[in-house]
Amino acid sequence: MENPYIPRKAVITNIEDETYDTKTFTFEFKDCQKGIEFKPGQFVMLSIFGYGEAAISIASDMDDPSHLELTVRKVGDVTGALFSLKEGDQVGIRGPYGNSWPVSDAEGKQLLLVIGGCGCGTLRPVILYHRNNPKKFKSMEVLYGARTPGDIIYKKYHEEEWSKIPNTRILLSVDRVPENTYWKHEVGVVTTLFEDIKTNPEEALVFICGPEIMMKYSVIGLLKLGFNPDRIFCSMERRMRCGLGLCGHCQLGSKYVCKDGPIFSYTELKHLPDHIVRSD
């Protein structure tokens, strides 16, 4: 019987700085099995022995499962320990776990992504899927808000590569611009960008990821614009101990974020307790 608690051995093959507290790590698996098959929105459990495990969303290109990319913000023990590692070091990884962004439901339709802070990691596979298959969605609009220009992750890609994908609009905004910093995009919280949304609320799907308070105000704004709560999806984060639907820590009412989520439609989410996305 396979032991679901035992991770696979993975080696760090590349480390890319995103911001002062965020890096993208690339891993290759040491076992002979081919990389990792996953769906966009899923996460893995990352082990640094002596520190523990943490749930991290997958940021890779799902058409290229040979290696795994995780964009990680340094916020705790495990992520802190990961930041002290270098290329060639080994970690443990198990997964993928959880449900996924309903990408196939969005085919032939307009797609709106609303991103806050480093929530971009979990939506990167969606953007890359769109880049690889630019005809699957009718259009993609990305609204991305961060605290300062220095907090924007994948900045170069947003500005230079992804904005050039056909039928794609990328709007960036920051809460504030420090002195002597060049910034050509919007200033204000991410909802400031809502005035400029070109996506038609009638048929579009919306994928949101970011801090819960940002998701809450995004949902309020989107509902006002006429977006359908059944087609607004939020990615929830909890500190998970197992990722297997057992340890209990990520429960929201009758749902496990690790197993029934992390992606929930707003219609589903608004009936669940113990989060602040609910806007009524």
Binding site: M1, N3, P4, Y5, I6, P7, K9, S47, F49, G50, Y51, G52, E53, V75, G76, T79, D89, Q90, V91, G92, E237, R238, R239, R241, C242, L244, G245, L246, C247, G248, H249, Q251, G253, S254, K255, Y256, K259, H271, P273, D274, H275, I276
Partner: protein, 344 residues
Amino acid sequence: MKPAKKLMKEELGQFVDHLSKEYLVYGPVARRSDFSFQEIDSAEDLRFDYTTTTIPPKKFFHHRQTLLRYSGEDYSELESTLEKRFLLLGVHSCDLNAILRHDRLFTRQFHDPYYLKLRRNSAIVALICTHIGNSCFCASLGTGPTIREGFDLLLTDLGNEYLIEVGSSEGQRMIEELNLQKANSSDLEKKEERVKLALTQFVKSMKMDGLNQLALKYLDHEVWSLIGEKGGLAGCFACLSCGNCSLVCPTCYCFEVADIPELSLNQGVRIRELDSCQLLEYAEVALGGNFRRDRKARVRQWMTCKFGGAGGGFDSSCVGCGRCINACPSHIDITEVAKSLRGE
């Protein structure tokens, strides 16, 4: 079903000795002020008249386990050692139902090898409960005092002897070599009388139907602030967040996972151990966040879980053993919470 047998009470010692050849036998014994499942050396220590133990038999299956061993950046699964099978002797219906629920919980989407290894290494001789405690309410939940499944053998105290019913082929093997008398229909009738008598002893009850939906619907119900903040529900005080209720609950299963390094810091083990949603740290997230910082939210989570409305569903719901009522220093009574939610 194999025909039932009878064991004279003076033969209980021989029976336990016989079981001890094959199994490490644990049974209820009296301690200072409570009962506890402990290893049995002699049948004289057994207290088949026990009401309930403070800690449920889940301690044998799910308490603290080593998940893996690591050394540097390498790690390995622990090698499986063959241990002597163990037997829980005298398990009541509430606890047996809880074990059966955990059997399902730990085999839902992923099979939990640590739980299953211990479970598969165990046997259960259940006992019809005839000494109903003041906090017990299994009868109202359909989880006792009768027992229909999940045992290898089932004992009922008939006065001068025990009725022995067989629930599995392993149970049959346990008594094969003993020259036991066959039970007759009047013995089975006696058993029914015992159960009927037990049913008259219940003080508490709880109506479970729909409680899960009520708990999830009325997130701001007054009862949550009564038990979580103010006190005053049937004379209770506010919850102290001690976590006793989770520790003693036979269906509470939540666990913490932690790496425990040795002094060298180079190697160590990853363990898991029981946790409680009543503890502040349980719902902590990165950067100091906590999505159940209020005690009100934590007691609501626990009660919702026991009403079958949390992530464990039916498999972590209440079996009516009454332990949380006995163990709560604030005298919070789950049956009173249920009544209040129902508006009774």
